[in-house]
Every structure is written in structure tokens, then in C-alpha cells.
Amino acid sequence: MKKFVSMMLCLVMVLSLAACGAKEEPAPSAPAASAPAASAPAAEQPYAGTTIRVILAGHDWTTAVKDRLGEFTEQTGIEIEFESYPEDQLSTKLNVELASGGQYIDVFMCRPLQEVQQFIQNGYLADVSDLMADAEFQGDDFITAAADSYKQSGANDGIYYGVPLVTERQVLYYRKDLLEAKGIAVPTNLDEFKAAAAALHDPANGVVGFVGRGLANAAVTQFSAYMYGFGGDFFDFTTGTATINSPEAVEAFQYYGDLLRESGPDGALNMHWQQAAAIYSTGGAAFCTDADAIWQSFCGPETDVADVAGFAVSPHNSTWSVCSWGLGVSEGSENKEAAKEFVKWAASVDMTKYIQGKGISTARNSAWADPACTANYPAELLAAIQKGNEIATKSYDRPLTTSVSAARDVIGSVITTAIEGGDVQAAADKANAEFQAILDADAAAAAG
């Protein structure tokens, strides 16, 4: 019996050793084998034989592009080593690799409003201004605010550190059947909205009036649209003064908290969009406000509410239109030119139109203008998006500073207090002081 165990252990060992050898072998021979496959003349393929490592986020955009990576290799002769991770894991992975020089990454996806300012300051991102100026690439076709979110804020040097890919706006999701049954019109202002949500709040029958993000850090981006609606903002750009305890901001905290506490689901405090989408998509809520980019999770064809899904512009009449993801080239990369080739291909007009055609909101004006590219959107959603683009006053949904995550944690704590029904003014005052400290530290770091 025991002999058998030791034999098994030996077997496992031998197997695993054999595996180490077997798996590592093909690696060096791979590029050599594939080089002759590229048959086009060498002049057109200056980077043929180069391998670039591309790290993307788990996103519909990635899924759409992934299937066509082979075309890029065929056109340019550049081999792609591809990896994708969800946003939090991507962020950790990128931080480790970029902080140790970034020489093993060539192209990566990043969030302009979340980490790009820090990335620029840390020297992770390469200058891609030449690409943006390239006539063939049509850099001027990008939505201006989206492209500008890849500039260093306050630097005015005209340098682009990346290329925008996808955009989003906050929209109002509502249930046509529920509103009709009670004879309630689609709310167009905040008072109507609160009243409608309260009127439709019927937890005994499994329907809450409103569902939305309540998890502190995650909720900040959705709450911000309400705050803009009340006339507030995170901080004053010219003076660098934190304003999250201004009367407008406090009113907005109070409103959002009341809305979730009085007409929302029980677990609002730990609710990211995943939970909100789970509730809304199974018919558990009458209203929801969240980004338009994730509409398929809320009321796409596979959900229970696809047939009764309504879309409208958010009821506070002041939304944001932001660039949520884009591509950057690693400053430490040894194949920067090949990496830029990839960006040029992946964010090209043709590719963007193809992706927009799949119902993914991109950052190019030409794609939005082409009716063929928006055919896959529900008509109402498209109208809400276009209206949103018109009325959007801000191109950021979180404080536009360097230490975004720390700031979100601070601001989110006020949202938590508001949802729990605590003293919002006191919480906002405390958070404002902490937020001011973060802003000051960021300003000092940018100056020094």
C-alpha cells in the first residue's frame, strides 16, 4: 500500500518535470516558425517578427477585438501575446509591472479618469501625440473631451498619453409596464423622480422603487451626476478647494441617500453595479440610474425585463459623458513603434465602426454619425445617449485629481452615511477636510 503511494508521488514528480520541459520548449521556436507565414513585402511590414504583449481589461470591447487579432498579425507581421483581466486585477497587475519599469508590457488598457493621471505622473505612459496627429489615424475624429482625458490635467503641453476607446453616460433605466400600470409619466426632474420611485416602491411584492450603486467607492461615479444636477462639484479647479460640503453637494448626498433608503433595496450599502443589475434585470426594481455602457446587463435581450425596458435621460438634467477606457503604450516598452501600430489598428476608424456596430459605445464621432453603426441600439437608448451627449456639462464622473481611489473612498463614506440615514452635514464636513488633504498632497506632488 505504502509502496503504491510513494510510486504515485514519484509518478507525479516525473510527470511534472516532464511537463516543465515539454511546455517550455516550443516558446523559442514559435517566432521563427511564424515569420515566413507573413508573405507581404518587408517594406510594408517594418516590424515583422516583433512580438508585442497586449494586456486588456475584461470588457465587451476586448471581446470584439480579440477575434480579429489574427488580422493585425497578418497585416503587420507583428505577433501578439494577449492577456485580459477584470479591472481590479488588471490594475494590480499593471501597477506591479509598470512600477518595475514596464519593459515587458507594450500596450495596455487603462481608465483615463481612474488611473491615467497617476500613470502620467509616474511616467508609465508613452507620448502618443505623433499617432494622434497622423492623418491616416484621424485623431481629430475622437470626441474632444474623451481625447483630452489622456492629457495631463493642468499641464497644457498638448501631449496625448493614450487614445480613448469607449465612452459612457449615465442614463435612467425604467420599467414601462410598472409606470403604465400606475399611470406615472417618465420623470423629468428630481422631485418627480423621487415621488415616482416612492409610488412604485412595493417591496412586499418584490419590487423596489429605485436601485442603484450604494457601495461607497463604486457609488461615487453614479452619485456625481446627481451632484452636478444640484449644481455641486467635487472641487474648484482654479483654487484647488474641496467643495463636497457645499450646500449643493450636501443636498445631493441627502437626496441620493434618501432615495436609496426610502425607495431602494435592503442591501444598498454593499451594492456595486453587479448587484444592482441582478435586481433590475430580474424585475426587482422600477428605476435605476447607471452607465449606458452596461445596458445589456440591466435589460439586454437575455434578461427578464427586455420587453418592458425603457430608457431616458437621467432626471437631474445634467449628466456626464466620460471616456471610461482607452489604450496606452508603456513608456518602458522596447517595441514602442510596433505597439503604436497596434493602437493605430485597434482604434482605427474602421475598427471603431465595427465595434460600435456591436452595440459598444465608442469615442469616435464618425462612428456615432454612421446610422449603420448604431442599428443595434434600442431606439430609446440611442435617443437618451444623444440627449445625454448634448446636455452633458462634465467629462468626469469622479474627482479629476491624481489620487482618485483615495478620494473616492473619502467621498463614498458620505454616501454610506446618507444611505444609513446619519448626519450628512457632519460626514460631509469631515470628508471635505480629508479630501482637501488629498488634493493638497496631489498638488504638492505635481509641483515637486
Binding site: K2, S16, A19, D60, E83, E87, S100
Partner: protein, 275 residues
Amino acid sequence: MDKKTKEKVSNVGKHILIYAVMFFTIAPLLWMLLASFQPNQSIINANKGLFDFVPTVENFVSVITEYDFLDYTWNSFVVAAAATVFSLIIGVPCAYVVARYKMRKASVVVLLVRMIPGISFLLPWFSIFSKLGLRDSYTALILSHMLVALPYIVWTMIPNFENLPRELEEAAWIDGSTQIGAFFRVTLRLATPGMVTAALLAFIFSWNNFMFSLILAGSKTQTLPVAIFNFVSYAYVDWGGLMAAAVMITLPIMILSMCLQKYIVSGLTAGAVKG
């Protein structure tokens, strides 16, 4: 109540207790198993009733066909098996001398390693391994996973060796065997059940390790716990696929522990005969 009925009652009580504990232990996992056969929309709403769905194997099909699940499984297996075997090779002798000679200082060193929070390793390891050309290699992953496996093996083996009767080993010395010879011929055999347990645990911890794999693995060596995140993306969570993947990740380990259980138990009876 006479003694016999008393025994019967306590026997029934024991069984009820065991099965109740077992139920609470596996209930959440049963829920996962159930979920892996459900379409997305019914997983995310428990109000509909637990069994009110049309079972589907689509989740499993998509796990196997759409994602390169078998590659990841192979990577996980290679890394976990190698980390376990190498840890056994260097860890078991270490545990033996620590137990026999009360080498407290050595045991403290092993323990200290376990105490350091894993995140402190990430950045330095990444730079060192990539400078050595070991980025995205099995070697780097195995070495990092050994740091998880080795302390567990050493520390579970120490009490095992402490509890083993010395007499058999000493008898072998008298028979003219060297101490090392006796260790391999006598002591190791007696310690087999403990070693199986230790190896099993080490394998599991390596198999499930997420942080080290996330940082050190690349496209060629990605392991299962990292790959499972492919079911979560911005804008869509494939709950069915996620649960199916979770079931499939757990399955090999479960089969392994079922098989090895036999040896743990057989070790028990063997020990009883000799002891």
C-alpha cells in the same frame, strides 16, 4: 435506560450531529453546483424558488469550448504538483530533524515566512524573476508556490514525527542501520498518513493560490484561479459560467482527496496493528 439503549441513543445522536454539520458545510457548495446548471437569470434571483429552472449544461460547454480551460488546468496541475513534490523533498527531512532535535530556532524561521503578508512579495519578486528571465515561466510560479506549500508541510509534519514511537527507529539503528537509512526505511513509512495529509493541503493551497499567480504568470502559464476571472468583466458577469468553472476547478481536488482519504485511513489501521 440500560447501557445498550444508552449506547444506541448516543450512536443515533452522533450520526445526526455529523450529518447536520456536513449539511451546513456543503449547503453553500450545493447551491453553487445547482447554480452551475442554471441559466444566468435564475441564478441571480433566489425569490423565484431554488429549483424552479430548466437545467442546462450550456455553462459547462461554454467553459470548455470558449475558454482554454484545459490549458489552464494543465498549468495549475504542473505548478501545484511540482511545488508540492519539491516541498515534500526538502520539507519532510527538515520537519524530522526539527521534531527529533527540538530545533526551535529553525521552526521559528519557517513560521516567520508564513507570517509575512503575501502582497509584500509581489513587486520585488516580479522584478527579480523578470531580471532572471523567468517571467511567465513555470519555474517562477513553482518557486513562489513552494513558499505557500513548504511551511505547511514542515509544520504539519513536525507533530507527526513527534508522535511517532522512537522505538522502531532505534531498533533499526541497533540492527546496524544508519540513522538516515532508518529514516528512509522506517520513519518515513510510519509517517505516510501524515505526509499524505500534508501533501494534500500543500497541493490545495498551491492549486488555489491567486495573488502570486496573477503577478508572476503570463499568457503561457496562467493558472485556473486567475483564469476564472474571465467570467467577470465590465458590464457583464457570467454567473453560470463562473459557477460551472468553480465546480470544475474543485472537482479534481475533490477526487484527489477522496482517493487519498483511503491512505490516511489505511495508515491509521496499520499504525494500530504495529503500535
